[in-house]
């Protein structure tokens, strides 16, 4: 018969599909700097699915180049020039050349949950390790709780169930020993043990003397617990405490500098990611926004990102405000304190700013970062007096990480970066959160 039901063939599609998704993830990871700067992310709610343009995975082959203006043959009514359909295109970031260097392929849009993306980013950061060493925890005493079993304790905590279980175990052990020693049947041994009330020596004697009473009973073994003092089990009490970890992020921004929307977006994105990551480490994370020109003041988030141009600049004013807040509201003994400051680098008194930073470092702040925002055309040659002062004052060597300059020393909780492009965000965040510093 030509129509047959064939033998079962091992399934392989799922596994190979998994491998494909793994490879896709690798690509997403490679493109993290670009993806992380996507604006749709920071406006996303938890669980939101974001679309990231990534390259479709295709094996490259010798392919002919640019198609002519007409790209394909289709079928249906219509005349020359008629629009037959629309679809969403992909934004190609200007100046973002990375993508072009890989062999591969057209952009496709892939969906990824924001949590998954955060997880990947965390992996890339090596963040979970941060917890062990640096996190300060608050201990909260909750009294006592019962937890575990011990061999001694007050009678009131005797664990009956566990104790009886031990006794039954002893019963079986004795019964076995009796059988081996006397060679009598199991039932006879049981009767003697029963008659001797669990005393094994007595039971042996009874067996020897043939004094075991087996009249009037069914041939049934009913185990009973034989308790010796070491069989007693007690509940254990422990002190109960819980740990709470909390952090505060001070977001500082120099509002004297006219930052365009794109630059403001840098700041927004940076803080969003900082707080997101810290929330994965600490149970509670607070953010305080500080705007400053020559003086500093606390603002809410909305104001922070929308405050317009003001007068001159004293960065020190912002740092001093942070210092006051730490002293009054966020003691470093219970808070993990992070501070980040965005500026264009103009400062009337760079020396004072450096001094204020030193004060914060002396207080034991976890990390303070300085981000200098430059225009796209920044060549990496010249930087501001403020940055220069910081470099000299704190003796900061420059390090190149992923083609990105970071000034900082491993043992110092202060670092500085210069940001020009969207793609600088990720290395900056990475440098700031890298635990080894």
């Amino acid at each position: 018969m030509p129509i047959i039901i064939p033998e079962h063939i091992k399934e392989r599609g799922k596994n190979d599909a998994r491998r494909h998704r793994e490879k896709q993830k690798e690509i997403i990871k490679e493109q993290l700097p670009g993806i992380i700067a996507e604006e749709s992310i920071i406006t996303g709610k938890p669980g939101k699915i974001i679309k990231v343009p990534i390259k479709s995975l295709e094996i490259p082959y010798f392919k002919s180049g640019k198609p002519s203006p007409s790209v394909g043959v289709g079928q249906g009514g219509g005349n020359k020039g008629d629009i037959i359909g629309k679809r969403k295109g992909f934004e190609k970031e200007k100046g973002h050349k990375r993508a072009g260097n890989e062999p591969g392929v057209d952009y496709i849009e892939t969906e990824i949950e924001i949590e998954e993306l955060i997880e990947m980013a965390m992996e890339d950061l090596g963040l979970p390790r941060l917890e062990e060493k640096t996190v300060k925890k608050l201990i909260i005493e909750l009294g006592y709780k019962i937890h575990g079993i011990s061999r001694s304790g007050p009678p009131s905590l005797l664990h009956r169930g566990k104790t009886v279980k031990e006794g039954i175990r002893r019963f079986w052990a004795f019964l076995n020993a009796l059988r081996q020693k006397s060679g009598s049947s199991e039932f006879l041994c049981y009767r003697s043990l029963k008659q001797a009330n669990g005393n094994i020596n007595e039971a042996i004697r009874l067996l020897k003397d043939n004094a075991v009473d087996i009249s009037d009973v069914d041939e049934k073994i009913e185990p009973f617990p034989i308790l010796h003092p070491e069989d007693l089990r007690y509940r254990k009490i422990q002190e109960s405490r819980s740990y709470r970890s909390q952090a505060v992020v001070f977001a500082m921004m120099d509002v004297s500098y006219s930052m365009d929307m794109e630059k403001k977006y840098f700041a927004r994105s940076m803080f969003w990611w900082l707080v997101t990551f810290l929330r994965n480490i600490y149970q509670e994370v607070q953010v305080r926004f500080i705007a400053h020109d020559t003086t500093a003041w606390l603002v809410n988030e909305e104001e922070f990102f929308h405050t317009g141009e003001m007068g001159g600049t004293y960065c020190a004013s912002a740092y001093e405000l942070v210092k006051n807040l730490i002293e009054t509201e966020y003691p470093v003994s219970v808070y993990n304190v992070y501070a980040w400051h965005f500026s264009d680098g103009d400062d009337f008194n760079a020396e004072a700013a450096a001094k204020s930073i030193q004060k914060l470092l002396d207080m034991g702040i976890n990390m303070i970062g300085y981000g200098e925002i430059h225009s796209d055309k920044y060549t990496g040659q010249e930087f501001s007096d403020l940055l220069k002062t910081y470099i000299n004052k704190f003796n900061l060597p420059v390090k190149k990480e992923d083609n990105f300059l970071v000034w900082g020393r491993d043992e110092l909780s202060f670092m500085a970066v210069v940001l020009c492009h969207k793609s600088d965000l990720w290395p900056a965040i990475k440098a700031f959160l890298r635990k080894d510093r």
Partner: protein, 500 residues
């Protein structure tokens, strides 16, 4: 599918076989396997009933499964292999009448397999399914021994050039020694002609020619390949200096699969069109004979419509192909061909043309026997047919404001559409690239040449492909082509890309 259904399907299959024979379709014994949808989706994605593991297959499986599970479209209904004994799958979960439709469709394909000169070529690789099945275990073993990533890399690399073959699918290029022997003999003959009084007078060479011929002869002694070869994998298997035995095995399997499948690429429109053309007829008969019920007719019509639906942005072979055979049959039945018809310019006379010559059936069978898609487009896509099918060329324009891709009709002129369709099928997407020198600069570098035909290569893809070839050749790889009307040579030396 229960026992009753199975029995009924079996009886209908026997009838379809008879109907096919009545229509003079070529048939042979066909194995129909009833499988779950998952298995069908795998078969569609893995090219063969069982094939080695690779992420490319996984990617396609994922895509097909997503379409199947989430959109309800693309219900898998057809997979048939051109084996010695053709094999086809039927899906357990599919409606009964859809499985009947599949069987009828498969009979159309099988006739095409047996009757088309190109598909007969594919049948020459009849042990390919067995080879694919056996490779599964073997490749897995290689993975355990040499690392799964290493195996994946070699498969990736082989796949990147697996379709590279001579433009003539019937040609199996000779190996080095065979070609060398032949070429040397040819030049010697020519040299002896030149120096002999009785030589072939057509080949009178000048002194200079003779010197260059002698030089060529000298080179031929050690040159590899003696003559450019286009079957890249074949050349690499034979000559890549640092490949392990298992790597050559992988290359061989990947190459053979492409060789077996490549004839299909040349006859997509005709093959699907032919099967659709015949399934429509066979199904009609089954309904007439009462083997299928009137209530099943609705289901059949739905699926038939789905399969043959015209697409706005691609050419649906099921639709255009079957319409083409209908069109040819009608034209040749009514004598709408030949010089007299072609010379007639009166549209009314053309429209009413009917010589009652009745050559339609003969013509469609001869098209099935010896045409490729390209030949069919050139010869049979008449202006009337292109109009009737409402074919157009479309373009994509990006709206800078909304960042939307706007698809619009660029051209409706039949001549232009015909030439674009034809162009796409001159090379069937395979750029002609030959190994010119396997010992370039005397250093064992690989030198490839692209036969430039007016369209330059995509640079990103080219570089990626060169990296893959490097993975196999393990020495610098060169590719000569043209870009911006200049000769250009891409080089990949294992670390970086250069252009010369």
């Amino acid at each position: 599918m229960n026992k009753n259904d199975l029995g009924r399907l079996s009886r209908i299959e026997t009838r379809i076989n008879n109907i096919a024979k009545e229509y003079s379709l070529l048939t042979t014994e066909i194995d129909f396997e009833i499988v779950p949808a998952r298995r069908m989706l795998e078969a569609m994605s893995y090219w063969f009933p069982v094939n080695f593991s690779h992420w490319v297959f996984g990617r396609d499986f994922d895509k097909n499964r997503t379409i199947y599970e989430y959109t309800g479209q693309g219900i898998p209904y057809e997979q048939v292999w051109n084996f010695e004994k053709p094999r086809a799958l039927l899906v357990k979960e599919n409606p009964f009448v859809l499985n009947v439709l599949t069987i009828a469709h498969v009979y159309g394909h099988v006739d095409f397999f047996l009757g088309s000169a190109y598909l007969q070529r594919g049948r020459a690789f009849s042990d390919i399914a067995e080879e694919a099945r056996n490779s599964t275990e073997r490749f897995h073993r290689y993975g355990s021994r040499y690392g799964h990533i290493a195996v994946e890399e070699v498969i990736d690399a082989s796949m990147s050039i697996q379709w590279q073959e001579p433009a003539d699918p019937f040609l199996d290029e000779p190996d080095d020694e065979e070609a060398r022997k032949y070429l040397i003999e040819k030049i010697r003959k020519r040299l002896s002609d030149a120096t002999s009084l009785y030589g072939n007078q057509k080949n009178i060479d000048t002194k200079k020619d003779i010197i260059s011929l002698e030089e060529k002869l000298k080179q031929l002694e050690y040159r590899t390949p003696p003559e450019p070869v286009y079957d890249l994998l074949k050349y690499l298997i034979a000559h890549a200096p640092y490949l392990n035995k298992w790597e050559r095995d992988v290359l061989g399997v990947v190459r053979n699969q492409a060789r077996a499948l490549s004839p299909n690429r040349r006859t997509k429109i005709l093959n699907e069109g032919w099967a659709t053309f015949w399934h429509a007829r066979i199904m009609r008969r089954l309904f007439q004979e009462g083997l299928l019920t009137p209530s099943e007719h609705g289901v059949f019509v739905d699926y038939h419509a789905k399969v043959t639906q015209a697409s706005k942005i691609r050419l649906n072979e099921y639709h255009v192909g079957s319409a083409l055979f209908e069109n040819i049959q009608r034209r040749w039945d009514m004598g709408c061909f030949g010089s007299e018809y072609n010379a007639c310019v009166d549209p009314i006379a053309r429209a009413n043309w009917d010589t009652k010559v009745g050559k339609g059936t003969e013509k469609i069978f001869s098209v099935r026997a010896s045409y490729t898609d390209r030949m069919a487009i050139e010869d049979l896509f008449s202006d009337e047919f292109i109009h009737e099918q409402e074919l157009y060329l479309y373009g994509i324009h990006i709206d800078k404001k909304t960042n939307e891709e706007i698809v619009y009709i660029v051209e409706k002129c039949p001549g232009i559409i015909r030439s674009v369709l034809k162009e796409q099928r001159v090379l069937y997407g395979i750029e002609p690239i030959a190994v010119v020198d396997g010992n370039y600069r005397g250093k064992g570098f690989l030198f490839l040449r692209h036969d430039y035909h007016g369209v330059q290569l995509n640079e990103l893809y080219t570089r990626g492909t060169l990296e893959h070839i490097y993975r196999l050749w393990k020495r610098p790889v060169y590719l000569e082509t043209r870009a911006q009307n200049k000769k250009i040579v891409y080089v990949f030396d294992g670390k970086q890309h250069k252009t010369i």
